[in-house]
Amino acid sequence: MKSRPTSSLRALGGALLVSALALTACAPGSGTPSEEPTSGETITDVTTDIESLGDVELVVWDQEVRGSQNDALEALNAAFEDKYPNVTINRTSQANEDLQQQIALALGGDDVPDVVQVNNARGDMGQYVAAGQLADLTPYADAYGWTDRFPDSVLGKVRYSADGTTFGEGNLYGLPQTGEIVGIFYSQSKLDELGLEAPTTWDEYHAALDAALEAGELPMVLGNIDQWPALHVFGPLQANHVPADDIVALGMGNAGASWLDEGNVAAMEQFATWGAEGYFGSSPNGTDYDAAWADFTTGTGVFLPAGNWLGADMEAVMGEDLRFMAPPPGLDGQVATTGGTGIPFSVPANADNVAVAAAYIDFITTEEAMEIIAENGGMPVLNTADLAPESGVQNDIYTAFSTVSEEGTLLPYLDYATPTFADTAGQGLQEALDGQRTPEEVLQAFEDDYAAFTG
């Protein structure tokens, strides 16, 4: 700038400062209608008589964009509209990540959907509950008998105390349709080739991994460029070293556990060793998640620790050769692994049609609904063992899910713990994998995040 603009710049800075100060006079949120927390407001007029409500447009935001899930929900929506001709469903579906970001902004306003899929995590559902933005569905749970329909282990993942501080018990803020379980995929022919059996204990698993490494195979497939996939490898491993109750407390962000105890250190050290010694190949952090499992279908790697949701797509390529198992029993001989529910369907506190929304959520989680989900290739959260296909990897998956949910423990996703834990854990596990930080440093970061949140 020559001479004069300097003063202009200064003037501009001054102008901005003045306008900024003027604007600070009004608090954020003043443009948004729901400044007053609405929590504690209980629903009083519970109605299940939907026909009597006249013409209703039910606005549903979901993230069931994948083929099988989308087909199931479309079928259910059509059936719901048939049952209640006065209801029209206005459905918007989008990728989960986009949806979760959208909800954060949209729930603050008046123009909210009637039904929305909200991630169970504290960073999502927990914060909305604390801000009074989700309707407590407990009255409807009584009216429709949801507590009989769902086991407590499932409902626990959608329960928060009214102020959002306790996760796992309290009011009910949604219902899931599908189940999820993280386990280990493998190729039967590959195991046969290496002369291995599917491992039944962690020792056998470690031995199989060593044998694979020696044979020049990639022991475990992991595409971790997006940071979250490593959580699904670490979760089951952690269950072999840490009591399930502690993992539940850590994962749900409830006080009373510590990331720094022996078990966690052992788990993290094992994980770092796997990274350093090439059990995930040369560069798990530089590999795409989808590229990784696509490679697995064409013969790369021996084991693929991952969630059941990959089953259908991989089966399409690998057929009967693809198998799935829950991780071997951990401490105390109990099976415990990361898993739980699909993203639950919730109702915003400001929704126009809470009664219809509750009826809808009821409708899409009935036994018949579970059958429709299973027919379309999803894994229903209820009656899983009964609805299991007769053979193939889906049979493995359904069996594993019902075993773990009935006899073992479905551990929460670790990123449920705090609003920032997805980043803390994702970054930390990447750093442990490539040795940027020691296991102790990583665990310290976990503990800091957890302790700061649980206070």
Binding site: L12, V65, R66, Q94, N96, L105, A316, V317
Partner: protein, 269 residues
Amino acid sequence: MRVSSTERMLNYVVLTLFALFAVAPVATIFVTALGPQLGIATGGLHWGNFAEAWAQGDFGRALGRSLAVAALVVTSALALSVLAGYAFGTMRFPGSTLLFYLFLLGLMIPAEAIVIPLFFDFQAIGLTDTIWGVALPQIAQSTAFGAFWMRAQFRALPENLLEAAAIDGSTSWSALWRICVPPLLPSIVTVAVLMFMWTWNEFLIPLVMSPYKTWATAPLALNVFQGQYTADTALMASAGVIIAAPIVVAFVFGQRYFINGMLEGATRG
């Protein structure tokens, strides 16, 4: 000017190497798009991937929306920029420098910094999920650049042009359209193309401003598509080519005009 043959060879080598570097990633995605889908072992070129991606991704409607948004943004921002540039470039008035720097600031504000308050305001007045909700913030962004660009263009006009117009008895309005705009058309076209490109490729603003996805533009459709068929790199790449194609085709056919306009425009000031 005489250039030695060694130097000429060297020139070709440098240019060709760099052109290869520039084109290689584009070629990569095109080649991937023509590759086999997962689980299909056959070789050859799979042109069917494009048809399949097109049908599954609902890209027809997304491209239509992108076109509508881009048309609205470009025409509005262009009109505002020409008027503002005219004032900045040909007139003297108190506060002109300050106002100009105010516009310049707009080039530096990251979109992430303003989408949140904008969303709350738009929601309050019912602009979300309308074409205006998606377009207005982008009109403002493009105008910031457009005013900056058009100012330089108007300043580069010969000084006596306006005086001659004054002697003819022109008003400032008619002088703008009759005298000033015609010689500036090439650079106006260039800035229009730039605005079009930016709008077409914008991701965050349509993502946030259209919660019901009624105005989800092409890059967003690609994101949804990725959620649906993420596994298949061949289909993903095909979808990517579909999204990029309109711009690339427009660029290839218009590049001579566009780049010349840019070369001409950039020398003013």
